[in-house]
């Protein structure tokens, strides 16, 4: 039956029909839904792991036991999982092992634009790259067999426009192969030097065999059209090429990105007058073309930065733009921001008021960097707030500790903040670490994590006791505050910043978007009492605006958190608001 699926759902269905028995992942846009959809199926174990390295190692364990397994992560997640990846390339697999990695060109929801194809080459692991949901289904399903046949993990590369685009899929039936036996084999699985030295040549031979496979792989195909122009392309770029140029050009559509089919490329190049490579981000295919002696037009014409569209192709080939409509007035930007009632806002307000240097982390709370709060000084990667603060303090004058904090979310803290905290205690810096515990993994769309007390299926699970964990690693000062209580936050933060030893302040209140969090009735501004001081505006709450010289609250947005009311010196905010 024809169904419309986002690419990530198609991957989930492909892995399911391909016989997956276990998936372990850490959420990350644009990869999250792969695991969420898999969790809806019965007949396999699904879980959220604390981070991507753990997830891949869990998948390895399942593979070792003879079961087909997978994990999914965003591009930067693969950095975290890179350690097991590179050596898994040596050990190979028992049951098929698929690593889904989703790149985010244009950084819709990411901190960099790295190209995961570089990882496939560096780790010598084959990579498949679908262009739409139908291919996402087909490639994921086939990836298990490829993995088992060539005794290697397989990377499946998605990008935002494939992961989050819906297109038609006609799924088949689930087929689960017989579970393979686990047989002890230290020479294959114990990667100490003596054995690893024997595995490396096997990896090199496998790469040669995979290159041969790539030449005949049905995922690489030639679509001959006009022969003046030949275009080698892959992933979502293929769609734009076909959209704009149709059959007027010939296309070599690459579905297996690593290893690339050299002979096929050379043969294709010989049939066209002018050769182009159209690929988002890095010139991976282009570089391979140069290695095998071709001189295609690639990054000299197409951008290295951002994502492509049909406009990229028409611009490059000199096709005139369609006429368009343009309003004379520029529309003001609408950046994302923390939601009305967001528990992170109170803490940031206090930190901004005290002019504290904030080493931030990855999550919704990165949005505190924006006006009017402007409270965040750094965002680097998962966990870097805690370790970065330690280093910053070690290199600064002693009183810097009174003006510096690390801010990190609950899920991010478990992902890789806790190791930084162990370092703070062990190597002794008077760091103050604020854990924003909103009882969920927020930015990626509400996934459970080890601090929430629930697993991926929503069933009760063991819950990390954050206070006890912090104490156990050697932090003696652990405080808990309610971020809606600004006075308490300010008092506790001031005390902990002054302290000469490391401390953790847990700001605890669930995300307002969680279903069980009931919104209070919206607040309203008493226009008689409002003196237009604009203090409430400093919160950067989307529900508060300034109209006709006074503050006003949009009752359709307000969730009645009351933080603005606590801030108002004239007691002008309260009561029940009305819909604007």
């Amino acid at each position: 039956m024809k169904t419309l699926m986002i690419g990530n759902e198609a991957v989930a269905r492909g892995l399911y029909d391909g016989g997956i028995g276990l998936v372990s992942s850490y959420p990350g846009t644009p990869s999250t839904e792969i695991t969420e959809f898999l969790a809806e199926y019965d007949g396999l174990h699904s879980e959220w792991a604390p981070n991507e390295k753990v997830a891949l190692e869990v998948a390895f364990g399942a593979s070792l036991a003879g079961v087909r397994s997978a994990c999914a992560m965003k591009h930067v997640g693969l950095n975290v999982a890179a350690d097991p990846l590179f050596t898994l390339s040596y050990t190979g697999v028992n049951g098929g092992l698929v690593i889904c990695v989703a790149d985010d060109p244009a950084m819709h929801s990411s901190q960099n634009e790295q190209d995961s194809r570089r990882y496939a080459i560096a780790s010598k692991v084959p990579m498949l790259e679908p262009s739409d949901s139908a291919e996402a289904y087909e490639f994921s399903r086939a990836a298990f067999e490829l993995s088992e046949k060539y005794d290697t993990p397989v990377l499946l590369r998605m990008c935002t426009r494939v992961a989050h685009s819906r297109s038609i899929v006609e799924p088949g039936e689930r087929e689960v192969p017989e579970k393979k036996k686990y047989v002890k084999n230290p020479e294959k699985y114990v990667m100490m030097p003596a054995y690893a030295k024997r595995r490396h040549p096997i990896v090199e031979d496998r790469t040669k065999a995979l290159a041969e496979f790539s030449e005949n792989c049905p995922f690489n195909r030639v679509e001959m059209g006009g022969t003046d122009i030949g275009i080698i392309t892959s992933g979502t770029s293929y769609n734009y090429v076909k959209e704009v140029l149709g059959d007027s050009v010939s296309v070599l559509k690459i579905g297996m990105t690593n290893p690339l089919p050299d002979k096929m490329i050379l043969d294709f190049a010989s049939k066209v007058k002018k050769l182009y490579v159209v690929e988002e981000l890095e010139p991976v295919i282009e570089e391979r073309c140069r290695i095998i002696g071709l001189d295609p037009i690639g990054k000299s014409l197409f951008p290295m930065i951002g994502e492509f569209s049909q406009k990229t192709i028409s611009a490059a080939f000199g096709i005139e733009d369609a006429p368009t409509v343009r309003a004379d007035t520029e529309a003001p930007a609408r950046p994302p921001m923390m939601c009305p009632g967001c528990p992170h806002r109170g803490i940031y307000y206090v930190l901004a008021k005290k002019k504290i240097t904030v080493l931030g982390d990855i999550g919704c709370y990165t949005l505190g960097a924006q006006p009017p709060l402007c409270a965040v000084d750094t965002t680097l990667c998962m966990g870097a707030s805690v370790s970065g603060t330690h280093g910053f303090l070690k290199a600064s004058a002693p009183d810097a500790a009174k003006r510096t904090v690390a801010v990190i979310g609950d899920s991010t803290f478990i992902h890789s903040g806790v190791t930084g905290l162990i370092n703070v205690a062990y190597n002794g810096s008077p760091s103050t670490v604020v854990i924003l515990d909103n009882s969920i993994t927020g930015m990626t769309g509400h996934q459970q994590n080890p601090t929430t007390g629930y697993n991926i299926k929503g069933d009760p699970a063991s819950k990390v006791d954050l206070e006890a964990l912090c104490r156990a690693v050697g932090i003696n000062r652990v405080r808990v505050v309610d971020p809606y209580d600004l006075d308490e936050c300010e008092r506790v933060l001031t005390e902990e910043l002054e302290a000469d030893e490391p401390s953790v302040v847990i700001s605890r209140r669930p995300c307002v978007l969680l279903k069980y969090v009931k919104a209070a009735s919206p607040l309203a501004v008493d226009r008689e009492k409002c003196r237009s001081c604009k203090r409430c505006m400093g919160l950067g709450c989307p529900a508060i605006s300034f109209t006709d010289g006074k503050a006003s609250i949009d009752a359709t947005l307000c969730v009645g958190c009351g933080v603005c009311g606590r801030l108002c010196p004239f007691d002008a905010i309260g009561g029940k608001g009305e819909t604007k």
């Binding site: 819906r166 769609n239 368009t324 343009r326 609408r334 994302p336 921001m337 924006q370 769309g445």
Partner: protein, 190 residues
């Protein structure tokens, strides 16, 4: 047939994802090739969000770029103006009259352009303003704004009304079907 391009735009959290899901399902059932592109993640936190819906005999790109959209369905006035550059000459905007101030306006760094829809009309764009919130509330929930707007789009597309009703039945949770069908009827018959 020529590919039809529809954009659904608004502010993160307004419910545009359900609208595109409904529309996509309906178009597949009608036998078209369909591509829908969504953005998840950070911009869903109150940012400007856009969903592209394209259908025809064979659709490759999931995106709609400048000068290509036949219809823009906007959940918010300013967002209609922001994405208007994607309209074809002679394209149509269906816009919910709700105004949600973006942060630069809230903090006084920018002003909300009050007559931006008239500006579009002056450029030859057909702008249909819909008080979808009132209609949704009449149907029973402010959340039905998306269905009211889809009903206004339905008036302009060549797909029978009953097919839309069918697609609503398949796209929303059973307990909300009746309310959403009412919202669709109120919107359609306005």
């Amino acid at each position: 047939m020529k590919t039809v391009n529809i954009m659904i735009v608004g502010v993160g959290g307004q419910g545009s994802l359900l609208a595109s899901k409904l529309l996509g399902r309906l178009l597949v059932d009608e036998g078209y090739d369909v591509k829908v592109s969504e953005v998840h993640g950070m911009s869903q936190r109150g940012g400007s969000v856009v969903t592209y819906v394209r259908y025809g005999d064979r659709v490759y790109s999931p995106l709609i770029t400048e000068g290509e959209a036949d219809y823009i369905v906007s959940f918010e006035k300013l967002e209609a103006a922001r994405w208007a550059t994607c309209l074809k000459p002679g394209g149509t905007v269906i816009v919910n009259t709700q105004q949600i101030d973006p942060m630069p306006v809230i903090i006084g760094k920018a002003t909300y352009p009050s007559d931006i829809l008239d500006e579009l009309r002056a450029k030859g764009v057909e702008v249909e303003e819909v008080d979808a919130l009132s209609t949704a509330l009449e149907a029973g929930s402010a959340k039905a704004v998306n269905i009211v707007l889809m009903a206004r789009l339905a008036k302009r597309l060549d797909i029978p009304r009953e097919k839309w009703i069918e697609a609503i039945g398949k796209s929303v949770a059973p307990k909300f079907v009746e309310m959403n069908e009412k919202a669709f009827a109120l919107g359609y018959d306005k």
